[in-house]
């Protein structure tokens, strides 16, 4: 078996349906047995909002560290809200039908458990250095929280450091180049611009990455609203029917859709869960690297920011899906790119807005993934690797729009999926720690970091 065949085999496993069920079950375990959302659901909801949206006016006030909880969430959101929220969402509806959206919501709901636990553990087990900087993420909570399974942390760091070059860089840079090509931007020039931008932002460390994310995430959301709102107004009349279709087609797609395009329950479940898991990165562990940077007095506070990250991602994917279903274009089939072109033909700004949105989405993802990869590499090889990693990342950002390196992209895609294996195992084994932290937080106890 050659390496590409092995890669394809592994890829099918890590993105396969059984793996999606594992993601879901880990989320269910955390939500029900450790975080216990349902023990006092209204209080949880109230506290969740108070700790995040209620704290938005404190966005510039940290707890004495490098970046604020809000900024850390912006870095995570910058990576999470990517092209998967647009093209990936359209692809999920095309593959699974409107019912996929319901299963996506299920994935999102239980994904809040994984994301909450990741953000909480990331802060709890992070390392603080003499200059005030911190490093954290799954590699730290796996190696510090599970000393006998320390290798899981190294495994995660290796997967993340390599995946960041491909899925977090080459494919994103390719998406920017692809989106701007119809507007007449030469790929080499786009690559040069990306390399410079990525190099300058990553070169400033987490503070500059956070400042960048603080601008790019609102810009992403603004562009998304400009792109989607006119379409929502246009197809607004069909929205109630689209929503009803989502629920009807969730369990009996054949009956709801009249057997259209061969949609089945499995297809809806598979495509929907796929979006509900991979769009928000809950369970992959990537966002935890950003959340670890937040300066908070208690890890659980950052856990709530993790849920907010999920909420924003949920709004973007849901609005995209509902607009697409309301337009009726999903019935025509085809690829996600063709469907997107067809959908945005009705937009007053046409394909330009789609191109800009995709480009900005991919750009934000790229910078945050650069930081994730750098942190993972620094965990493996020490602080000295940061600048070589940044330079390599910038060079690959230049190469991305030019195309090529497909084999490397395919391998990095698999490594991206493999990140979930050590992370999910860690979330299950460290679930008790999350439960104790939540219990202590709601008893007013101060946080005692592990030694």
């Amino acid at each position: 078996m050659d390496i590409l065949a092995l890669n394809e085999y592994l890829n099918r496993i890590v993105y396969g349906f059984p793996m999606k069920l594992v993601f879901l079950l880990v989320g269910v375990y955390l939500v029900i047995f450790q975080i216990r959302w349902f023990s006092a659901p209204f209080r949880m909801l109230r506290v969740s909002f108070a700790e995040t949206f209620g704290a938005i006016r404190e966005r510039t006030y940290g707890f004495g560290g490098q970046i604020t909880p809000f900024q850390a969430t912006m870095v995570a959101l910058s990576a999470t809200v990517g092209t998967g929220h647009l093209l990936g969402m359209l692809a999920a509806v095309l593959l699974g039908g409107p019912g996929a959206v319901f299963w996506m919501w299920v994935g999102y709901f239980f994904g809040t458990g994984s994301k909450f636990a990741e953000a909480t553990l990331a802060v709890h087990y992070r390392r603080r250095y003499a200059d005030g900087s911190v490093s954290g993420g799954p590699m730290y909570y796996l190696s510090r929280g599970l000393p006998r399974l320390r290798f899981l942390g190294y495994l995660f760091a290796f997967f993340a450091a390599v995946a960041a070059f491909g899925i977090g860089n080459l494919s994103q840079a390719g998406a920017v180049g692809g989106a701007l090509a119809p507007l007449g931007a030469p790929p080499a020039l786009v690559g040069l611009g990306l390399a410079l931008l990525v190099g300058v932002v990553l070169g400033g460390g987490i503070v500059r990455v956070a400042r960048f994310a603080q601008v790019v995430v609102p810009l992403k959301l603004l562009l998304f609203l400009v792109a989607v709102l006119p379409l929502l107004v246009l197809y607004g009349g069909n929205l109630p029917e689209a929503l009803a279709l989502v629920f009807r087609a969730a369990f009996t797609p054949e009956a709801a859709l009249g057997g259209a395009a061969g949609y089945s329950l499995f297809a809806a479940l598979n495509a929907g869960l796929g979006r509900g898991i991979f769009a928000n990165e809950a369970g992959l562990g990537s966002a935890a690297i950003a959340h670890a940077q937040a300066q908070v007095d208690h890890p659980v506070r950052q856990g709530f920011w993790g849920v907010t990250e999920m909420f924003v991602s949920f709004l973007v994917t849901s609005l995209t899906a509902l607009t697409f279903i309301a337009s009726g274009l999903w019935r025509q089939g085809g690829s996600a790119a063709e469907a997107a072109q067809a959908l945005f033909q009705a937009h007053p700004l046409g394909g330009v807005i789609l191109a800009l949105t995709v480009a900005v989405f991919a750009l934000g993802t790229m910078v945050s993934w650069g930081f994730y990869g750098e942190e993972a590499a620094a965990f493996l090889f020490g602080e000295g690797v940061r600048w070589p990693y940044r330079l390599t990342f910038a060079v690959l950002a230049f190469v991305g729009p030019l195309g090529g390196l497909e084999a490397f992209l395919a391998i990095s895609d698999t490594l991206n999926g493999l990140m979930a294996l050590p992370n999910l195992l860690g979330l299950v084994l460290l679930g008790g720690v999350v439960g104790r932290l939540v219990y202590g937080f709601f008893r007013g106890e101060p946080w005692v970091p592990p030694r």
Partner: protein, 260 residues
Amino acid sequence: MLTGNLAEFPFPALVGALMSAGRTGRLLLKPPFLEGEIYFRGGQVVHARVQAGERSLEGEEALDLLVGLKRAPFTFEPEALPPHTTLLGGLAVPARLAEAQEVWRGLSLPSDWGYVLRLNPKGGEVELPPEALRVLAQVEGKPIAQVLTAPGVLRLARVLHTLLGVKALEAVPRVEVPPVALLVLPIYGSGSGVAYVDEALYAGWARAIRHGFRLRLLGREAVMEVRPRPNIPERLGLLEEDLKRLRLRRGDKVEVVPEV
């Protein structure tokens, strides 16, 4: 120039030493809460004066007061001459000092006369003579030094001793810590009446106050127990019940000041 502290060289002994050495000059006492001076001319005490705030005493009354000082830095400036004389010198001065010393020995007042007197909120019901009641009515919020700097020093000291002894009054340090603006941070848990501040801020206040203290939320008319908590710089941690009671929410800016 001779310098030292009354904690090591008590006042009557110091005056006795300067008298027996036949010195001329000024003995200046400068604890933070008052200023006292005694002039010597050829070993005779010829003038004594005490100033505390706007009040002052001269002559024997000033001597009576200065005998009660347990600690105060002093300086002797030789050859300084008195502005006028209020004491006749001779044996009357050592006799007066010995008499005052005897009275002060039987009294127990805080050694720091900068402490402020206030009615004891935990005080019980007591029966007081009219003189004590008269004093009680006049001392609220005043430093001990200022209360004692009045005619009848020893009598006043006895009354204060009684009032403090029966816990009608309490002496607390004067807190001169500027208000701090903090952002409200919810602390989830049961209970109320407790405010949390960052450990570093709490330690700073504790060093400045050196006494138990509470926290006043300015503009809210609330006084709360205050406890240190790690990692909450620039924040004021309040329990949910207090947030509701005070109509505060996360991120509100509140000015707080510690008080004894």
